[in-house]
Amino acid sequence: MRKIAVFAAALLAVVILSVPASAATGWTAPKLIWDAKYTSSSMVADGQGAVHMAVVGRTGIWYLTNKTGRWTRVRISDRGSDPQIALDRSDHSLTVVYEVDDGECCPGSSELSYVTDRHPDGPGAWSVT
């Protein structure tokens, strides 16, 4: 009986987390853009209305965008936390700064790293610096 109750509760939680709310007046209905565990999202929008996001996933920092008309993602770092994304309006490049646990000094110690798509091969190829 207890197992059934636990299963029912888990099923209910899944249903609640999967069902979007109805759209608010003047807004589109919320859309699930990636079904995975993400946290710490940071967002910018460009002049064409495309959205660029940096989020923390289970396996690192991910970049999400809808610039092609559908949502795509690419992993830009295999570790890190607390990403911040910014758009350089002079050359339309994107930069993501994030924290990486130092691990060498002391607990909680971290350093800042960044990646950019300002790359010799052209935009869209992320390079870690």
């Binding site: 939680a13 609640i16 987390l17 999967s18 979007p20 709310a21 759209a23 608010a24 007046t25 003047g26 807004w27 589109t28 209905a29 919320p30 859309k31 699930l32 853009i33 990636w34 079904d35 995975a36 565990k37 993400y38 946290t39 710490s40 999202s41 940071s42 967002m43 910018v44 929008a45 460009d46 002049g47 064409q48 209305g49 959205v51 996001m53 989020v55 999400l64 809808n66 949502w71 911040q84 994304i85 910014a86 758009l87 350089d88 309006r89 002079s90 050359d91 490049s93 930069t95 700064v97 909680g108 800042l112 960044y114 300002r118």
Partner: protein, 215 residues
């Protein structure tokens, strides 16, 4: 974090052994340098929000926790990286003041949202000084953006007045609030594209990322 003409500017919360301070970090002139903004004497500073003025000089809003919540404050620092100096002023002294989100309006004057014990507020620079007004009597993690024409938008009125993701827009002399989702989210990001009227908001529910935008 702001990137302009390839130069990265960051306002960071730096933890020391016995204090947290705010630093400004940039790679101007090709190498990384950093400035102490809040001062080592200010032992509990943090949550910085950075923007650059038209000349490219940094402006940073940050919180300072007092000995008691009554003494909490939001300070604003203006810097000139050529001289390495920052001038700071206390803009808000309010119980529980935290988490400023800073922008410049179309005239280049700073304004920021922040959370306090009695709700979500906005502070803006006016000719006579600073004007502070309450947006709503509850909410957490507010973020301020300016849309086309410089009209303010605030999201992060989390669970206020009832559970969910809320968005507030200043229009016709009042804040108008709308609930975007009935589910609670602790991770909300907002963006407004320059020159457009569209507000974009992404938020996580149970770790999944949801997205909506204004029509």
């Amino acid at each position: 974090m702001v990137v302009r003409d390839g130069v990265i500017a960051i306002a960071a919360n730096v933890g020391l052994y016995d204090a947290t301070v705010v630093e400004f970090i940039t790679n101007v002139a090709g190498h990384w340098t950093h400035w102490d903004i809040s001062g080592r004497g200010q032992r509990q500073a943090g949550e910085p929000s950075l923007t650059l003025d038209r000349q490219g000089w940094p402006i940073i809003a940050y919180q300072v926790h007092g000995a008691s919540r009554k003494a909490d404050a939001i300070r604003l620092a203006r810097g000139a990286t050529q001289t390495g100096s920052f001038a700071t002023e206390r803009v808000v002294a309010m119980r529980g003041a935290t988490g400023p989100s800073l922008v410049l309006n179309v005239k280049g004057h700073p304004r920021f949202s922040f959370d306090a014990a009695d709700g979500t507020h906005q502070a803006k620079r006016v000719a006579s000084g600073w004007r502070v007004g309450r947006v709503w009597r509850a909410g957490h993690d507010s973020q301020l953006r300016l849309g086309a024409g410089g009209h303010a938008r605030i999201d992060g009125l989390r669970d206020a007045p009832t559970k969910g993701v809320w968005f507030a827009k200043w229009s016709s002399g009042n804040w108008h609030r709308v609930r975007l989702d009935t589910r609670s989210s602790h991770e909300v990001a907002m963006a407004v594209a320059k020159g457009t009227r569209t507000d974009h908001i992404a938020y996580t529910v149970g770790g999944r990322v949801w997205y909506t935008h204004s029509k």
